[in-house]
Amino acid sequence: MKRILLLTFANLRRSGGQNAFLTFLITLITLFCVLSLTVMLGFMSCFDKAAEKADAPEIFVAGQNELFDADNKNILDTDSRVERTVYSDVLYLDSAQITFAGTKKSVALIAMPLDKQEYKSYEIVEEMDDIPENAIYVSRYFKESGDYELGERFDIRYDKIVYHFVIAGFTEDIYLGCVHSDTQTGVVLPEDDYVNFANRFSSNENGKVADIYIKDKEQAQAVMSDFLNKAETGTSKYCSMTYDVCRNYATMEPSIMAILLLSFAVLLLIIALSVTVYIIRGNLVREIKNISILKSIGYSSNSITLSFALQYTILTLIGAVIGGILSFVVYSKIAGSMQSLTWIAIKTAITPVMPVYVMLVIMSIFFMVSYITALKLRKVSPCKAFNSAQEQVNTFKKDVMPVYKSRLPFHVSMAVKMFFGSFKQNLMMIAVLAIISFVLGYVAVLNYNISVDTKKFVDVLMYEYADITAYANPTNYYDDLDAILGSEEGADDAIFFETLQVQTGNVNMYAYVTNDYGRTRNDSIVYEGCHPSAENEIAIGGKSAVYFNKSIGDTISLDSSGNKCEYTITGLIQTSMDNGFDCELTTDGYKRINPGFKPNTVLIYLKENVDTDAFLDTIIQKHQSQISGAVNTKLTIEQSMGSYVSLVDGLLISFSFISVVIIWILLYLLIKVQLRRNDRNFRIQKAIGFTSWQIRLEVFLSFVPVGAVGAVIGGLLIFLLANKFSNTLFGTMGIMQADFIISYPMVAAILVMLMTVTFLLTFIITDRIKYIVPKSKNML
């Protein structure tokens, strides 16, 4: 072992630049792995801990009182899988509207009195000193991501009435902290305020929260489905959630960041491994003399191989330790912004086990790869030490394009020889360049879609939206409000477009309802098949299609208000809003289950270059009696996308920066290795009269196919895989087919740029050829 270490350190001392680069790469890989795994696992386990502390139930059901009549309660009481159920009296406001980060959200709002009911899983984490009038406590998520502060106004719009509150404090709660469009959101009021608030509603809004504790966690989904199946729900509104679903909602955005980071780390790992293999092969050639001498004096192949492998394992160790330490520093900086993406204070830190674990995995990968690569030196025979010392590990046997036959210009045929002489290395280099061009190209595609041409990105993330959304006045209702607004000066078109709730079996789904889908503008929603056009047709969310095991042509039955109807599936849709549980119906189609339905929301599309705010003012004044309100949707979307976009943007900018740095160093190293491999031949060439320029030209020409093919393959990968890659990344959000725009000129520009960088760099680095002197102790 001592002998091996001796060799190892002798080797390590020699190639400083390469070692530094590999260490740098491994530092990044470790850093990214630790961060992403910490976020992915840490956030979940932290959420688990918070849930445990709050004694959160496995199933949460909230709804109007009807849902919890004696019969239905009995279902739970007699279910042997249920341990206990705790009921709390609350106000249940179905489809209440609140504003979150500038966006109006429709949620099932659950209000409860402070300290006065069974439900105690919330905790007040921040509170004003003097409790104001109309005080309300809301989830800390409103502060972290929703742009609210203590003492600010908080409005709840319910059944056309807006209720004003003042935020007196922030709470933390597992189930009620959620602020997603199709889920429940909880608020807490001081007892007096609660009573006042409750008095403004009929008994219809009186509801309950049921915390269902079960014995076997795995059974949560089944127990919940069984209950909702058996229960006579009648017309009562309710919402339900299992713990796992809740946790998914809570950790979704940080998880996406983490997945992005992790995939980047994996790409870096591939690059680092390729570079290692490349360098070891280069070194084997350089070290051949030393290796044969070591063998001749009695070192075994195994100990020499081990010393090579150990060399890279030691580098990995150093890189991983630095990366591990860095991850603590970096994490403390980014933890804040990551945590603002969820509603539980994530007090997670990096566990010391994590970096150690990551380190061990990376180290063993590197050990294995470098050991296997170095196994090649077994072929070196010790007698090489004494006779012709400069035998190559790669002994050339096949004469590719012999110069004496070649019709190509002399230097081109020399370059061809050089290219095939290091064919395997060149293939590897092509692969590395292809990966780099893919990463860069992909980053550019994302950047383009998120920052430059954002329509596609917004389309993919949203359902139908227009410039302005107007709400009909129910007391002065016009059936043709869409036509009235659409004929306004500046308007291009206006349609009734409603988002409603329906049920299939016991699963809640959002239903988008409009007359004619031909007039909608978001082409990204249907990703397979087509929109419904007849009253018995439906398009459903891709995720729900998988969940219900349905495909195009099948039928699905919906119910609402006790009516049940069958629909034929004509298409699959994708929106990120509802985690994929949604569907599209025509207005007539929806009227089959809800005959009294009158659409209420009008989307107004404006002509180009029309001032949205001015138009808004005009219609609000002109149609005062017909509409109850209107909002600038574009602005709202921009605001709500803002934080998300800036986060992704920041991530991408740092990615591209790191990519570019890596390309430069990588090319530098790879070309250097290439020069070293050919060092002996270059010396001989110089001796027989080649000038530096001639050799440089040959090296340069031999790199042209490498740079070009690498970039072209990278480009092809972008076209073939970029959207598949996006689908994997965004799949968790319910996006099945992110058809991001891949701008041909942009990708072409990137590839040309990359090639130029490759060639320029090759040209600059090959300048060192002039330092190769023909004479050397080695040669003569």
């Binding site: 002994t395 050339f396 004496y404 001989i684 110089k686 009269g689 080649f690 002197v773 003569l780």
Partner: protein
């Protein structure tokens, strides 16, 4: 007879760890056209260093080298390369062929530096290979697939393909056995007879007999020159003369 190569007060030193070691301390010598000059001397005397200096492979600190009426000591590396391809041929101690090409390509590559006619060079190379007894089959092999003797003979073909003014050889038989060594020496003698100027470094007296002039290098200077006359295998007087010359200088 005309002088083809002339060294005047050539000095060269190496710096190792900031310590300067003077290797050539003022060498003066003159090689005539058609000479087969042999450089001898003890190990470390500076023979190889002198050869590099004369052939323009390495620059010198001071002095003058006049090669084919050119002052080459001030040439830049690239100018020197261009000079070498026309005026110098090299036979090295070890197989120093480009390992990524066949023997024939090794020769062609050298030849293509001086002409653009691949055909012409190919014909010439094949004739020379025939002369050194390397078959077509072996010509297509790679350096890793041939014997040391074959490699050295191919090296000679490469050295003379461009009809250089001087062929430089540094212990060309150093890594060969006796009989292979003789073949190589015979070849060098052959091309010498056809008028080729050769400068060869050797340790071996039997190799040195081949020359018409032996230059003894000692302590970084020329320590004596022995004019032997043309090589004749049976001429014992010549052998004696060289033996005495070397003995006098402590060989």
């Amino acid at each position: 007879m005309s002088t083809i190569l002339k060294a005047i007060n050539v000095k060269k030193s190496y710096a190792v760890d900031s310590r300067k070691q003077e290797v050539l301390k003022g060498v003066d010598l003159q090689i005539e056209k058609g000479d087969f000059a042999v450089i001898m001397g003890s190990s470390g005397a500076g023979k190889s260093t002198l050869l590099y200096a004369l052939s323009g492979m390495d620059n010198i600190d001071s002095g003058k080298i006049v090669f084919s009426n050119c002052n080459i000591e001030g040439y830049s590396a690239d100018k020197m390369s261009v000079f070498r391809r026309k005026h110098c041929g090299f036979v090295f101690q070890q197989n120093n062929l480009l390992d990524n090409m066949s023997l024939i390509d090794n020769v062609i590559v050298s030849g293509m530096l001086c002409t653009n006619s691949r055909k012409e060079i190919l014909a010439k190379a094949e004739k020379l290979f025939e002369k050194v007894n390397i078959s077509k089959e072996i010509q297509r092999k790679f350096p890793s697939q041939i014997s040391g003797g074959e490699a050295q003979r191919a090296g000679i073909v490469r050295a003379i393909i461009n009809e250089p003014d001087v062929v430089f050889a540094d212990e060309p038989t150093g890594s060969l056995d006796y009989s292979n060594g003789q073949v190589v020496l015979d070849l060098l003698t052959d091309i010498h007879k056809s008028g080729q100027t050769i400068i060869m470094v050797t340790h071996d007296i039997r190799s040195a007999f081949r020359g018409n002039k032996v230059i003894f290098v000692r302590d970084g200077m020329v320590g004596g020159i022995c004019e032997l006359g043309e090589y004749d295998e049976k001429d014992d007087e010549r052998k004696e003369k060289l033996r005495c010359f070397l003995e006098e200088r402590g060989w």
